[in-house]
């Protein structure tokens, strides 16, 4: 068999979406999963060491070649198009869905304090958020969650890679703090 690393490189390159370890293993039937993982780690390190313009990254539960962030301006210069960025309303809505999923629209609205129809719709269109089902309560509201594309776009390996909510800890402690409020 040819060099495992070389095969993996080829597979990752041709893959449209981040390529999962499982898929690589399915192709390399006779190779141990741990060996495949080793080869992947080695490849990542090699691209890193070489200071190549592209790097092999673990994202959205798979592996993908991506350009190095420092080179973004050069790539943008080539592409010429300005990327559509997310509005603060969309980002806030997305953050709530990401951290609180599965979540229904009313819950998102109670946190943001505003109607979220428009940003939610936009996120569905952009495929960053999806309908995961319906809640079994009166009215059967739809439940939302993030997609794999969300992980891809935000460069996340998986949801557990999301930074923990710093303030949320404080929020849990706030109960105590609030008890200290002097009654005015």
């Amino acid at each position: 068999m040819e060099n495992i690393q070389a095969i993996i490189e080829a597979l990752v390159l041709v893959s449209e979406a981040p390529l999962t370890l499982e898929k690589i293993c399915a192709v390399l039937e006779e190779v141990e999963k741990s060996q495949v993982k080793d080869a992947l780690d080695k490849l990542i390190a090699e691209y890193e060491e070489r200071q190549s313009g592209i790097c092999l990254q673990e994202v959205a539960g798979g592996y993908q070649f991506r350009t190095r962030t420092e080179l973004a301006n050069w790539v943008k210069k080539l592409k010429g198009s300005k990327p559509a960025s997310l509005s603060p309303a969309s980002l806030e809505t997305l953050a709530i869905v990401a951290y609180r999923q599965p979540i229904v629209k009313a819950e998102i609205e109670s946190i943001r304090g505003v109607d979220v129809s428009a940003p939610l719709r936009g996120l569905l269109d952009k495929k960053l958020v999806r309908i995961v089902g319906r809640k079994d309560v009166p009215g059967k509201p739809m439940i939302y969650g993030t997609t794999r594309k969300f992980l891809e776009v935000f460069n996340l390996k998986d949801l557990s890679e999301l930074p923990t909510l710093r303030e949320l800890k404080e929020l849990n402690q706030s109960q105590e703090n609030i008890e200290d409020i002097p009654s005015s």
């Binding site: 390159l13 041709v14 990254q57 993908q64 070649f65 991506r66 350009t67 190095r68 962030t69 973004a72 790539v75 592409k79 990327p83 960025s85 997310l86 603060p88 309303a89 980002l91 806030e92 997305l94 953050a95 709530i96 990401a98 951290y99 109670s110 946190i111 943001r112 304090g113 505003v114 109607d115 569905l124 495929k127 999806r130 309908i131 059967k140 997609t147 891809e152 776009v153 935000f154 460069n155 996340l156 930074p163 909510l165 710093r166 303030e167 949320l168 404080e170 929020l171 706030s174 109960q175 703090n177 609030i178 008890e179 200290d180 409020i181 002097p182 009654s183 005015s184």
Partner: protein, 248 residues
């Protein structure tokens, strides 16, 4: 207020994501402790902003007004004399408790959103291969069962476009109740294809819930109407036996 200040407000209003965001701004601007909000001051400033929006003829979402009412309500409650004996649940009694909780939670997610925005974003900071694959490897004979990647949102979007394109009003209504019956219709048809004929009791099966009986009955009526099944009864109150309308 002079022209310049008015402009200042106009610009700022644009950047608020809602009443909670506006409140957080006021809290920060006044360097107030979020756990101990001077409600009178904040209410006054909040309403001031709202009037500003009004005078500028800008659109104001209803949520801002709901918050104004909430603030005024809290303010009036704060004016009431506080019961003398301090209790453990005093915090719950603080009229500001809910609002503070809401503000802290919103602030948390506002920061989480900012953090998300700072991540290396695809198509902004990082890029992936976009070239189509060479034709010779794009096409390959598949023996495995195909996987399908499509979301439910795309499905309803497709239906929506279709409906808006042809403008058929009767297509618009999708009844969840009807869809529940459709599930049973599919189930009934599947079993009939297998068993050739079934009695009503057999169709209802073990789950003899009121809901299930009614839905199954409605499904049968619908199937008869659609001429998909035929139902026979040997005598009044006798056993109802259903057959596929057409032998498969």
């Amino acid at each position: 207020m002079n022209e310049e200040q008015t402009m200042d407000y106009a610009i700022k209003l644009d950047i608020f994501e809602g009443p909670l965001d506006l409140l957080l701004y006021l809290i920060k601007k006044n360097e107030i402790d979020i756990y101990n909000i001077p409600i009178a001051l904040i209410t006054e400033q909040y309403l001031h902003y709202l009037n500003m929006i009004k005078s500028l003829n800008l659109d104001l979402a209803g949520e801002y007004l709901v918050m104004a009412a909430t603030l005024i309500h809290i303010k009036s409650k704060m004016l009431l004399p506080v019961p003398q004996e301090p209790s453990d649940e005093e915090s719950e009694d603080d009229p500001r408790f809910e609002l503070i909780k809401q503000l802290l939670e919103y602030q948390t997610f506002k920061e989480a959103a900012a953090d998300l925005g700072k991540r290396p974003l695809l198509e902004r900071d990082v890029f992936v291969r976009s070239a189509p694959l060479p034709a010779e490897i794009e096409k390959s004979d598949t023996e495995e069962e195909e996987l399908i990647e499509v979301s439910i949102f795309e499905l309803i979007e497709a239906f929506h476009h279709l409906v808006s394109r042809i403008d058929k009003k009767e297509l618009l209504e999708i009844d969840l109740e009807k869809m529940s019956i459709t599930d049973i219709i599919n189930d009934v048809m599947e079993r009939l294809t297998r068993e050739k004929n079934l009695t009503f009791d057999e169709l209802i099966g073990e789950k003899k819930s009121r809901r299930n009986v009614i839905y199954t009955f409605l499904a049968i009526l619908e199937l008869i109407k659609l001429k998909m099944i035929k139902a026979y009864q040997t005598s009044a109150f006798g056993v109802i036996r259903v057959f596929p309308a057409v032998e498969s």
